[in-house]
Amino acid sequence: MTALLSTETLKLRTLRTTWIVAALAVAVSAAIGFAAVQISTDAGEPPHVAAIAGLPAQAMWFLAIVSAVLASAGEFQHRTIRTTLLAAPRRGRVLAAKGAVAGAYGALLVLLGTAAAMLAGLIAGAGSGGSWAATGVFWGHLAGTVAVGAVFAVLATGLGVITRSTAIAVAAVLLWRFVGEGILPALLHHDGLTRWTPTGTAGALIGIGANPLAPGAAALLLSGYAAAICGLAAALFLRRDPT
């Protein structure tokens, strides 16, 4: 398993996309952090570290998802899955290694983004006062944000294996996030449904929105979504022939 984890890491490291996504994560987060501090100081409100750190979370989660989809569905799109399975024919282990490495990279992206946003916020808010001391709540939210980045990346790995297409997988994520999660509560006449969606549960983990779900329950539910998608991916991956 160690060799497979090392292989999947090497695959990520040896593609330009990985570094471009990481650079994008830093640039976008820094811009968000900088702009947020500027806006708050212009409004005469002192910036607050915990609020700034959490701002790029959703963008980082999306980048974590895209990276994981590129790594998993990309194997089918470029037909590298054939050589992957020739070198490591035990498919369950290959999928587990892919998920683990994508999860670690997703967590790393969130950490990078958070650090970039805070650093840019510090630069923008230099001399303007505000609270820059990390509190227990800050660390709790940071841990939640990073964990969600990892879980979303694992889920996206499964989605990539199910769809075998980067375009379809990314389109499915976008449709679900911006259409599915938006219209489902209205269609089912159940406004409270939003708290149970992946985005709703992720928000409960880091204190976004007014979600009454306890963080532990939210973590469990989110992990359940990832486990369900990865379970389906594993069943299909074990049964279907690679393209």
Binding site: A3, T14, L86
Partner: protein, 239 residues
């Protein structure tokens, strides 16, 4: 025990039977051509042997085990399935490193093989910029990574120019002389005739003929492997 053994191997895709009750075995140290027209079932057979396609029925084993159960497949079998199995954004060297890593093969072996297939100069270029012939040579390097005793090569001459084909002939002959078992599928029959000892000929997924080229040509009174192929496949004189 035969090195490679196919027993009643069958693959159906819906109503289409791609491989039909195919059985043969190869002894260690033989170099065998796997011949058939387009759609005859060669690639499907090789993919089943390599665990990439699941048979509908029958078995395909290497050293008595299905490919997926080999303890160290990269060191047991080298395979070339298609030149387009490398990520276009990865360099040639990194493409090989990625395949070497699961077997614990170090970067020195990767560099040795890049030298062998004359890609050292292009090792740090992205595969997307390689010609078909270069990708084919990279695929051959990938097959040789684990220095395996068995090689399964699907159309290894595809995309190679005449110089490349001559190089491939020498390479395959050299590998066979080292006592390796080679199963080579090809459309280039004249070329194959110069390289292999035996042929297995299939048509519509079924075994048509098998034996040494000289014996088959004598038996069917054919002046060349190409004539033999045309006789057996076009005229339907299955034996």
């Amino acid at each position: 025990m035969p090195h490679i053994e196919l027993a009643h191997l069958t693959k159906r895709y819906g109503a289409v039977t791609a491989v039909d009750d195919l059985s043969f075995s190869l002894e260690p140290g033989s170099i065998t051509g796997f011949v058939g027209a387009n759609g005859a079932g060669k690639s499907t057979t090789l993919r089943m042997l390599l665990g990439l396609t699941r048979p509908t029925s029958g078995t395909a084993t290497i050293d008595g085990r299905p490919y997926g159960e080999l303890p160290d497949p990269t060191r047991a079998v080298g395979a070339l399935t298609d030149p387009d199995v490398f990520h276009p954004g990865r360099t040639g060297r990194n493409a090989l490193r990625v395949l070497a890593r699961p077997a614990g093969i170090d970067d020195r072996r990767v560099d040795e093989l890049l030298e062998l297939v004359d890609l050292t100069g292009a090792a740090r270029r992205r595969v997307g910029g390689y010609s078909t012939g270069m990708r084919q040579r990279l695929g051959l390097a990938a097959a040789l990574l684990g220095d395996p005793p068995t090689l399964i090569l699907d159309e290894p001459a595809n995309g190679l120019d005449p110089i490349g084909i001559a190089w491939l002939r020498r390479l395959l002959r050299g590998l066979a002389d080292q006592g390796r078992t080679l199963l080579v599928s090809s459309h280039q029959l004249a070329e194959l005739a110069q390289t292999v000892d035996d042929v297995i000929l299939i048509d519509h997924g079924r075994l048509v003929a098998r034996g040494s080229i000289a014996d088959l040509m004598a038996r069917h009174q054919s002046p060349s492997l190409e004539e033999l192929f045309l006789d057996l496949v076009s005229n339907g004189t299955w034996s």
